[in-house]
Amino acid sequence: MEIDLRQFHQVFFEESLEGLDTMEQELLNLEEDSDKENINTIFRAAHSIKGGSATFNFKEVSDFTHVLETLLDEMREGARPVTKEVVDLLLRSVDCLRGMLNRIQDGDSAGNEHTELIDMFNRLLGGESNSSAGGETIANLGNQEQEGREKNSDEMLWKIQFVPQSYILETGNEPLRMFRELKAFGALKVHADLSQVPEFEELNPESCHISWNLELDSEIDKESVMEVFEWVEDDCELTISQISVADSRQSLNKEKFSHADQSEQSSIELSTDIEIEENLEETSTSSLQPTAVAVDTTMVTTEKTKSFVADKKAASTASIRVGIDKVDTLIDLVGELVITQSMLSELGDNFSMSKINQLVSGLSELEQNTRELQESVMRIRMLPIGFVFNRLPRMVRDLSTQLGKKIHLEIKGESTELDKTVMEQIGDPLTHLVRNALDHGIELPEERVDSGKSAEGTLTLNAFHQGGNIVIEVSDDGKGIDPEIIYKKAVDKGLITDGVEMPPEQILSLIMEPGFSTAEVVSDVSGRGVGMDVVKRNINNLGGSVDIESEPGKGTVFTIRLPLTLAILDGQLIRVASEVFVLPLVSIIESVPYSTTDISRIAGDMPVYKLHNDYIPILNLVDEFEIKQPMASVDEGLLAIVEGENRKIALRIDELLGQQQVVIKSLETHYKSLQGVSGATILGDGRVSLILDIVGLSKRASERATRNRNRVA
């Protein structure tokens, strides 16, 4: 029977892209701390990609990763030092592989970007292992390796303990074949432990009761040893450890290899190794997540400062991997729900007024079950923000080199979870803020030293939950933003009138106005602003906000607040005539009784309400939505003061109803997009209610005011 391997492609791509992320992170750590385990992790990731790509016949990918492996192997064995040049080359290879995988996923060819890198690898590998091998190909690198190994083959010895499960032979896995493979790598000593073989009568001849201790005298790497056993990994206890030949000889001199005590001793040592091995495996497969979630391909498409740009169109969001604990919780809750439902249905069959208390309690239980179920379902979509944060160390590293700055990146709260959709969309704005902080916020080392700071600047990313929001802070200890300069530039740009009094934070927020954000302004001023209007717009589109705090000479903090999810909104129900609307709770500042005495009219007959020192335009929702029925009270009711994108408006309403979480349904999908309406929801009584978009309403108000002004003029 032939298996269609295409069904496994998606998993392969997801896992390989995850592997590349791991490689990238570990490569970045490698610079700081050359821990051998880091190299092992990188090697394992590369090896998995190589294996998978070979299985699926993505030859370019497997060939390329093979070259990577060769270099990593040398690093792992200590034959090649960890240098910036090598790390740079490996990082470029990670980018290149990402591009190759994305293109293959899109159904295109892998491309030929990797050929240049292969040449570089060949030069690097050939130049050191064989001085005359200037332009050698990958194919004969294997021979070079072999030659190199033969020279000092007596330095390496692998000790392997193999305890198969009794059913192993029935699965078609034959130790004889595996040992033959091992023997091909070098001299092999095999000791079979036959002590567990049952008496002849009791023996099931198809079960295996033998375990083995093996010693392999070979320079091959551990991965190659493990590959021999890869089909039986789950069907045996396997311990592979490395000892020097001298140690082995010493131990052989003391005791015979087959001596029982020796076996016991080695099994104690080996069991310690097992634990380490298992831990290593865990690290390599789930270095990020206690909740075992997968990054989707959008997330792994990082900022590219080099030529190997992963193709973004490949960034599909096909699946999400969910931790089993979350699924178990859901199953539990559904179980509870079924119990409550059957209890209520039984109550309904034999209902009498004496059971009214039971009914009330049952309904309350149903409500609780439903709420918990809703929360749990939402949690399935929640991913740790670390997936976004993790793309930043690479960018910081590349940019700081490029800019000649010393920057320490500190990441906090990376396990804070937020909705997958929100996370997908916050990546770019966040990257932009970080890049601006590096480019323009943090000073050059000499400037910092001159101003009494340490030469190394610190950029901090922090994420935490606050109320129903996730807060992300991007802070730097750079030169800060001077409000006076911003004010002056804003006046020059015609964004504000000279002489208008504004609090400093409002002045700072001007850098995120569209008219302000031009490159030359940024280079002239304290260096913020390129694309900042885009950052703000993106964050607002997610229902979030961004605030700036800055102290000249000390640094700047950008605070992004985002809703945890886009699917559910904390809403305030309001009544206008016979209609019920939903206002996002976060947009409400206050509500005041409506009184005609507090209302003024400005040019264009626009009614405004004076709140403290502000005049706020009033919007009558009956007029805005052409509601036929008049409001219940002409001169009464309330004004709901709401704010969006720093603009306040007052909505004239009849009544504030309750607050509740509403599930947002897209109006655009079911009808069409309307300015001033962000979506719709279904209320408890089955009616459809529109969710108001404050920014859109505010724009409608200002457009109408402009029209009216023009008419008056």
Partner: protein, 94 residues
């Protein structure tokens, strides 16, 4: 020299044939004699086959008899060597 019984191991001393071989070996055991294993035709041997022979030798010896090999094939000797069982099966001196 006492009486002996012989068992021919055939061409394949492997998992495919161990069930049938075990029955034949049980027959030999029942005779309470030393056993000669005729193994010149063995072209294929694996873990299951060698494990069965090991258990058989143990049993015969426990019963106070001996097992001897007759012309063990190269394939058999090599398999026992790679599996580390040559000594336990007396194939190192066969």
């Amino acid at each position: 020299m006492g009486k002996k019984t012989t068992v021919s191991l055939g061409g394949a001393l492997d998992i495919m044939n161990v069930a049938g071989l075990k029955a034949r070996l049980e027959g030999a055991l029942a005779k309470n004699l030393s056993v000669v294993l005729i193994s010149d035709k063995v072209e294929k041997a694996d873990t299951a086959g060698l494990q069965l022979i090991y258990a058989f030798i143990q049993k015969v010896e426990k019963n106070g008899y001996r097992v001897n090999w007759q012309k063990p094939s190269d394939a058999l000797i090599q398999a026992s060597e790679i599996l580390g069982m040559q000594e336990a099966l007396y194939l190192d001196v066969a």
